[in-house]
């Protein structure tokens, strides 16, 4: 599959303060030669612990970060070589849904205005009001939602609204950064199903970033594991989670608690990442 959005050997580092006044320059490498790609109509997952580099990768894919090395390409074009018009088309084509819809929607704007805003800002040439009515329906809400304000909605409904806003400019890639981890458990399945339907029906490409392996395995057909700023393993979810090879993947898989293990009394049993058992240094006393 030819990649639609691609990170090619992307390296990113931030300067650190010098040790001494005339000491050597130092920097912190957060991405170290990252290759990552999503094809047209493909759903790929990105997993890793906090601090592994997921957020920096997301920012690079959105063009919010200029990498120190390597290239970010959209449709084969290097972002750095794009002119203003191309850049605008890129911003329209890659949209993001964040973890917490309560902080990503302006509380003082009606939902309708929140959805119109990006269409105006991106100069989308179609009937904005009609487009907004269309996307609000696509995410399973009614047009009456448009006149209301964010505080009138539950977390699950707000996440639907955030998805509608991302869809409004007809993007080709949707980046979903932990889209369900802030939602109630009975709502998570609805939102995951909705994302899957959108990818299928609209032919959308999706990058799903999550810490929950089950969520990623359910929603994507290919997963990359990032650790210490490098992609350490990549493959189909089943292969990765059944036969993890990289240590970071094994740690993530070992961390998963399953219902069956729990009910069988071995839910906390040590995996490869086990710590030594707690020893009793202290006789019972105190009360």
């Amino acid at each position: 599959m030819t990649p639609l959005l691609e990170l090619d050997a992307v390296t990113q580092a931030y300067p650190l303060p010098r040790d001494r006044l005339f000491g050597p320059r130092r920097s912190l490498t957060v991405l170290d030669g990252v290759d990552f790609a999503v094809g047209e109509g493909e759903a790929v997952g990105l997993v890793g612990e906090s601090g592994a580099g997921k957020t920096t990768m997301t920012r690079a894919m959105l063009g919010m970060e200029t990498p120190r090395g390597g290239a970010v390409r959209f449709d084969g074009r290097d972002l750095r070589e794009m002119g203003p018009d191309e850049r605008r088309a890129f911003r329209r084509a890659v949209q993001v849904v964040m973890q917490n819809p309560r902080s990503s929607l302006d509380p003082r704007m009606s939902v309708g205005r929140s959805l119109l805003e990006p269409l105006r800002a991106l100069g989308v040439a179609e009937d904005h009001a009609a487009r907004v009515r269309e996307v609000i329906g696509q995410v399973g809400l009614t047009e009456s939602a448009l006149a209301r304000y964010p505080h009138e909605f539950s977390g699950g409904q707000l996440q639907r609204i955030a998805i509608a806003r991302a869809l409004a400019p007809r993007p080709r890639v949707l980046i979903a950064d932990e889209p369900v981890s802030a939602l109630d458990v009975s709502i998570q399945a609805q939102v995951l199903n909705l994302l899957k339907d959108l990818v299928d029906e609209l032919g959308l490409s999706m990058v799903l970033i999550a810490h929950d392996l089950a969520v990623v395995a359910y929603s994507t057909s290919r997963v990359s594991v990032i650790a210490g700023g490098r992609i350490v393993e990549q493959g189909a979810p089943r292969d990765l989670f059944v036969h993890p090879e990289a240590e970071a993947t094994r740690n993530l898989v070992d961390a998963v608690l399953t219902m069956e293990d729990g009910l069988a009394g071995r839910g906390l049993a040590a995996g490869a990442a086990a710590t030594p058992p707690v020893t009793s240094h202290q006789a019972r006393r105190g009360r």
């Binding site: 009975s186 395995a217 219902m259």
Partner: protein, 327 residues
């Protein structure tokens, strides 16, 4: 079982603030050394149940009912009596250790002050016990951590310190409210393992509040499921999770993607529970779950089902009789 054998007996607990009632007649018992999981979503009343028991409700909120613990009813206790009790016979671990720890005091001081206040120890003796505690929760370099400030520690280390503080005085009951939700996944299991071992060693009872069902399966022996302020299903963990009777429990078990039920098939869809959690200010009549329930009948829309069955019971007019059966 006589009352003295129980770590806590909650009867008909109501928690409200005049405008709304977050907890509507909750009853459960945890025997000494027992471990109960309390499952629920936001607005289900699970955290308000815990805060009501601990006497830590926000201003304007009050409790009704009875909470028998250590030979007294906690509901009638004064703030002074409760503050002597908290951290000693009953203690709590919160979700976010960073906001539960004092940012401007060294963690050693925060741990020793609990030991000194409740156990009347000298400063040197308290410090020695704190070091013992740190070793028990597998903290590396306990002497260094004793002098550290909360911001110098990782999230997992901070939560282990919260656990050490909660366990310091060998409480009869520990309430843990989403203790691992704010932690990185790879650290969660380790923190749960430490909590599990430390609770076991002290013979304390545990009330584990979480929305994560596999955590409850791993660490608890009984479970109560809350919905809209009430317990809708309760019983031994294996029975409730293998053969859920309430349609809500059944829906939760099926809809959560876990590594047990995951399908790698691209066309698969999760069996989601439709609709949303009703706001407490606008509960539907009858069974509060009926608008989301495929098995709802006219009866469900008008009358609240009573909680029936022991040890595994449910509040449902049309309980399911097997885990595999479709509603």
């Amino acid at each position: 079982m006589s009352g003295a054998d129980n770590a806590i007996e909650v009867r008909d607990l109501f928690v409200g603030n005049g405008d709304l009632t977050a907890v509507q007649g909750v009853s459960f018992t945890i025997p000494a050394g027992g471990r109960m999981g309390l499952v629920g979503e936001s607005g289900s009343g699970k955290s308000m149940t815990a805060l009501g028991i601990m006497g830590l409700l926000p201003a304007g909120w009050h409790v009704r009912g009875s909470v028998r613990h250590d030979g007294v009813d906690l509901v009638g206790q004064s703030d002074r009596q409760m503050s002597k009790r908290r951290g000693r016979t009953i203690s709590m671990v919160f979700q976010d250790p960073l906001s539960a720890l004092d940012p401007v005091r060294r963690v050693g001081r925060q741990v020793t002050s609990i030991l000194r206040r409740h156990l009347d120890l000298s400063a040197a003796e308290a410090e020695r016990q704190a070091l013992d505690l740190f070793a028990q929760i597998n903290l590396p370099e306990p002497a260094r951590i004793l002098r550290a400030y909360p911001h110098e520690l990782s999230g997992g280390q901070r939560q282990r310190i919260m656990i050490a503080m909660a366990l310091a005085c060998y409480p009869q009951l520990i309430i843990a409210d989403e203790p691992t939700t704010a932690l990185d996944v790879t650290v969660q299991k380790q923190v749960l393992r430490i909590l599990d071992a430390a609770v076991r060693e002290r013979g304390s009872a545990l009330l584990m509040i979480t929305h994560n069902l596999p955590i409850i399966a791993a660490i608890c022996d009984s479970v109560a499921v809350m919905y809209a302020g009430r317990i809708v299903e309760a019983g031994p963990v294996a029975q409730v999770f293998r053969t859920p009777r309430h349609r809500y429990t059944q829906g939760l078990l099926r809809s959560q993607p876990t590594m047990d039920n995951i399908s790698f098939d691209a066309g698969a869809r999760l069996p989601a529970i439709p609709g949303m959690v009703p706001p407490l200010t606008d509960l539907p009549p009858g069974c509060p779950f009926h608008p989301r329930c495929a098995a709802a009948s006219a009866l469900c829309r008008t009358r609240m089902p009573p909680f029936e069955g022991a040890p595994h019971g449910a509040a449902c007019w049309h309980p399911a009789d097997g885990a595999g059966e479709a509603p």
